[in-house]
């Protein structure tokens, strides 16, 4: 049988399918349906130093083959995460990735330091949330700002550090190189694309926050292109995400250059998607005679 395991920044994953931050909370809900070990890893809900209430509703709008969200990093804070959520996650037989966010550089350093003292396997730095007024995306929109925040956090982060990149930039390869040169162990991309919908009767934005992050199948081609560009630009592992909806998309994303993938919005459409993607990916490897899923990565012929 083909081997689905991958190693990202020294961390062993049973398979390359990771739940994307913000779509699975801390695992409890989907854990009612199947063992969470179906995921190679789980990137937890974006967590900040202190509890955040999030944005006022409505936070969700549908788009053609996708959706917008502006949840605004509602989360119970890092201490709650470590003391209450982490013990549950640790028992699930999957890699636990903390997703860390903040409003200031100091916040990011403090939360990375705090999480480094915990039992998480990796830290994913969320410098690309488009839905909060302070921080979030402002750290992720230029190579200079990404380099600065990564370099600042690096000394405080004792765990493998993933920088999650925003697609709302001029040159994603430059941004990825900046993260790598400042000490990132891996990059994940893409976070959501900033979008907007308007109710034509009230002429008001559907989302109270006005704009929201777009995800779902509609963004998949953008994600494939960016993962392909980033893979060519950096030597560190690349985690590809954005609109992956089935095993064929997962295969395509890996061929584009992803060492592992994340799935998010498809969980809302089909909660059993990870089970199906894992089976389909394995089937593809067997049919095509690959002994390991790692042989797929970056094999696109241009």
């Amino acid at each position: 049988m083909s081997d689905l395991s991958v190693k990202i920044a020294g961390v062993e994953f049973d398979n390359p399918i990771i739940a994307a931050s913000g779509t699975i909370g801390f695992g409890h809900e989907y854990g009612e349906l199947y063992p969470l070990s179906v995921f190679g890893g789980i990137s937890c809900k974006g967590t900040t130093l202190k509890e955040r209430p999030g944005n006022p509703p409505p936070r969700i709008a549908e788009t053609p083959m996708g959706m917008l969200n502006a949840v605004g990093l509602q989360n119970p804070g890092v201490e709650h995460f470590i003391n209450v959520e982490l013990p549950y996650l640790r028992k699930q037989g999957t890699v636990v990735i903390a997703n860390a966010a903040g409003s200031t550089q100091e916040d990011y350093c403090r939360i990375a330091e705090r999480l480094s003292d915990s039992d998480v396997d990796m830290i994913e730095l969320n410098i690309s949330c488009p839905n909060v007024k302070e921080g979030g995306a402002q750290f992720g929109t230029s190579p200079e700002s990404v380099e600065k925040i990564t370099a600042a956090v690096r000394p405080f982060c004792k765990k493998p550090l993933i920088i999650k990149l925003s697609p709302n930039v001029a040159d994603i390869a430059e941004v990825a190189r900046a993260a790598e040169s400042a000490g990132a162990d891996a990059v994940s991309l893409i976070n959501t694309l900033t979008g907007m919908r308007i109710d034509i009767e009230s002429r008001r934005p559907i989302i109270k926050n006005v704009t929201g992050g777009m995800s779902g199948p509609a963004v998949f081609p953008v994600a494939v292109r960016m993962v392909w560009q980033v893979k060519k630009a950096v030597k560190i592992p690349v985690i590809g995400l954005g609109g992956i909806s089935n095993w064929q998309d997962a295969v395509e994303m890996m061929i584009a250059g992803a060492d592992a993938i994340q799935i998010g919005t498809i969980l809302f459409t089909d909660p059993y998607a990870p089970v199906k993607i894992k089976e389909g990916l394995l089937g593809y490897l067997e049919t095509h005679g690959y002994s390991s899923v790692t042989e797929l990565t970056g094999t696109v012929e241009v």
Binding site: T23, G25, L33, P53, P58, E62, Q74, L267, F268, T269
Partner: protein
């Protein structure tokens, strides 16, 4: 099992008004564990987001949903034919919890009427039901509610059918005879009902709607403002904390 995702057969489909449809979805295991006021999250072919629809009734191993065409998604659903497959996640959310022996008034407004049927049936003939509609053409489920054998009033805003006016009229007349109120409908109606309940010192529970994504409590999309004891506002979620909330805690 708390909930599951299943392909269900659309056993029967009825059109109740030009825009409102009733589906019987065969799902014996899910029907068995469904409580009044819970909802089903229905997959619309070709759409990313499911549509949350309150359970109207549970009967013969089927979950009955009654929904209104509001946009493209519900239109696609309404076009499904009997015998086709509908994928749903159910049962979801916290419904109406009615303590033994409490006398309850169930109030539905418009498309908020369907979730009151299963709730009122469970409560039986000692409860009361007040259903309000825009006008005669929007009236639904009259026979189903009549069969419960409880006190039953229907109102229309323009007086074209039943009692002329809003549900709060009949509510004021009968509220003192009952212990608690359970309501679902447009926000202005719920606010008025909540105010009446407060004036009379009665418990009041309301079923709320919000744009929703996951339906299970993972994504935190379907937020509703909740007033804490200290007056500050926090957010709970319609899909997991609700859809039923204590009216007093809702930050309208």
């Amino acid at each position: 099992m708390k909930f599951d995702v299943q392909d269900c057969r659309l056993v029967s489909k009825k059109q109740l008004t030009p825009t409102i449809f009733s589906f019987m979805l065969e799902a014996p295991e899910l029907a068995e564990i469904t409580l009044p006021g819970q909802f089903a999250h229905i997959l619309v072919p070709g759409k990313t987001l499911r549509r949350p629809i309150s359970v109207c009734d549970v009967e013969n191993g089927c979950i009955r949903i009654v929904f209104e065409i509001r946009g493209e998604g519900t239109r696609i659903l309404a076009e499904l034919e009997e015998g086709s497959t509908v994928n749903m996640i159910a049962p979801l959310g916290k419904g109406f919890e009615i303590p033994e022996g409490k006398k309850v008034i169930f109030i539905g407004g418009g498309i908020g009427v369907p979730p009151m049927l299963y709730s009122a049936k469970k409560a039986g003939s000692s409860c009361a039901v007040i259903n309000g509609f825009r006008d005669k053409s929007a009236v639904i489920l009259t026979e189903d509610f009549r069969k419960i054998g409880c006190r039953f009033v229907e109102t229309t805003d323009n007086g074209s059918y039943g009692v002329h006016g809003f549900v709060t009229g009949p509510l004021e007349e009968m509220i003192e005879e009952y212990d608690m109120i359970c309501a679902c409908g447009p926000t202005p109606m719920l606010k008025n009902i909540a105010a009446a309940a407060k004036n009379h010192g009665k418990e009041c529970f309301v079923s709320l709607e919000q744009r929703m994504a996951c339906g299970v409590g993972a994504c935190l999309g379907c937020a509703v403002g909740i007033r804490r004891d200290d007056g500050s506002v926090t957010y709970k979620h319609v899909c997991k904390d609700g859809p039923v909330f204590r009216a007093e805690e809702v930050a309208w």
